[in-house]
């Protein structure tokens, strides 16, 4: 970590991110988002594995295919591609690009990998229920002053603090 650049000040980053959200709304009438892209990738996978279920009434993903739409032809998918590019560029400039599996010194890499997988799966389920993730439901919701945004942020951080105690070994 010594030879890498310092992170940007968090207030400055927050304001810049807010400006990006603002322009996202101004230009495309929607804010940021990420989980939607993953949900669409999931829908596409389902479509390959079990097309009959995916197109049936029972499936929630069926709405992504309505009227012959391609679930991957969506602004959120492009946005996540953009996040990859932006993250890579910033990481390259700051000299942080390195293939690593970051974990607390107290746990093994394997344990961290399993935790990441479970955490990801929970996030996938949660973001489906909550109709968006921390950025799509939380950030955009708070920016538009939607009740859902504030509720979801309180729920995420609230449950995070409640469960933090049980999983402290993963981090500290």
């Amino acid at each position: 970590m010594e030879n890498t650049k310092k992170y940007m000040n968090s207030y400055l980053a927050g304001v810049l991110l807010g400006v990006v959200i603002l322009f996202s709304f101004y230009l495309t009438r929607e804010g940021l988002g990420a989980s939607g892209a993953y949900k669409r990738i999931a829908a596409e996978i389902e479509n390959v594995v079990a097309p009959s279920y995916t197109h049936s009434e029972n499936s929630h993903s069926s709405s992504y295919f309505k009227d012959g739409l391609n679930p991957l032809k969506n602004r959120l998918v492009f946005m996540v591609i953009g996040v990859f590019i932006g993250g890579f560029v910033s990481g390259t400039i700051a000299g942080r690009v390195k293939l690593t599996l970051e974990h607390s010194p107290r746990i093994t890499s394997k344990k961290r990998a399993i935790a990441a997988l479970i955490g990801g799966a929970l996030f996938g389920i949660g973001a489906s229920f909550g109709r968006g993730c921390t950025s799509g439901a939380g950030l955009d919701g708070m920016a538009t002053l939607a009740t859902s945004g504030f509720v979801v942020v309180m729920a995420i951080f609230g449950s995070g603090y409640i469960f933090a105690y049980f999983f402290r070994k993963l981090w500290i």
């Binding site: 991110l17 999931a42 990481g91 955490g119």
Partner: protein, 195 residues
């Protein structure tokens, strides 16, 4: 007057890509590509998530109010996430649990994966699996998923105050949180080994 592009407009894809690039740039340079930094918010050793998050929401909310006032944007055309009481809370609680176990959220995992974090790549795989699990079991809770619909409800309307007053309360509250968390961080940092 904004919004400029329609959602079905091909140009909105290009715009989304460019916005995504800036999104990724800011997330990465703010340090959101490190799961240990992100998880710090729950253990009090690093509140960067909270600061960036609330600062961004505040800036965007205040910015939108100004855009609206000067007729730059038609707020009625903007997408407001609907509020479904039960599903929103349940979703948030599950996401919180996922956050504390996985250490990322969908947006940050993308930019962390971009700089080579293997755990972030696994996390993304997890999200896709989670979304598939949700969909396969969807008939079990499809009714719940649609329940408690309050529509695109706005918080200041629920509280019965004007938008401007709400924004002021929001800003003051956020700044208070910034100072309190900065103080906590200072206390905790003494006891926790900095990584």
């Amino acid at each position: 007057m904004g919004p400029i592009f329609n959602a079905s407009d091909e140009w909105s894809y290009v715009v989304a890509l460019v916005i995504g690039i800036f999104f990724g740039l800011i997330l990465e340079s703010a340090g959101f590509s490190s799961s240990r930094k992100l998880a710090g918010v729950f253990y009090g050793y690093d509140f960067v998530v909270l600061r960036v998050f609330f600062m961004a929401a505040l800036t965007a909310a205040v910015g939108l109010a100004f855009f609206d006032y000067f007729d730059l944007i038609d707020l009625s055309k903007i997408y407001v996430n609907p509020y479904f009481i039960g599903p929103t809370i349940v979703g948030g609680v599950i996401m919180g649990l996922g956050f504390i176990i996985g250490g990322f959220c969908p947006g940050t995992s993308a930019c962390a994966a971009a700089i080579g974090k293997i755990d972030a790549m696994i996390f993304i795989g997890g999200i896709v699996i989670g979304a598939i699990i949700f969909d396969v079991a969807y008939p079990l809770y499809s009714e719940f998923y649609e329940s408690g619909n309050k529509g695109a409800q706005l918080i200041y309307e629920v509280m019965g105050i004007s938008k401007e007053w709400f924004l002021l309360i929001f800003v003051v509250f956020a700044i208070a949180v910034f100072y309190i968390t900065a103080y906590i961080q200072k206390l905790v940092s003494k006891n926790v080994n900095k990584y």
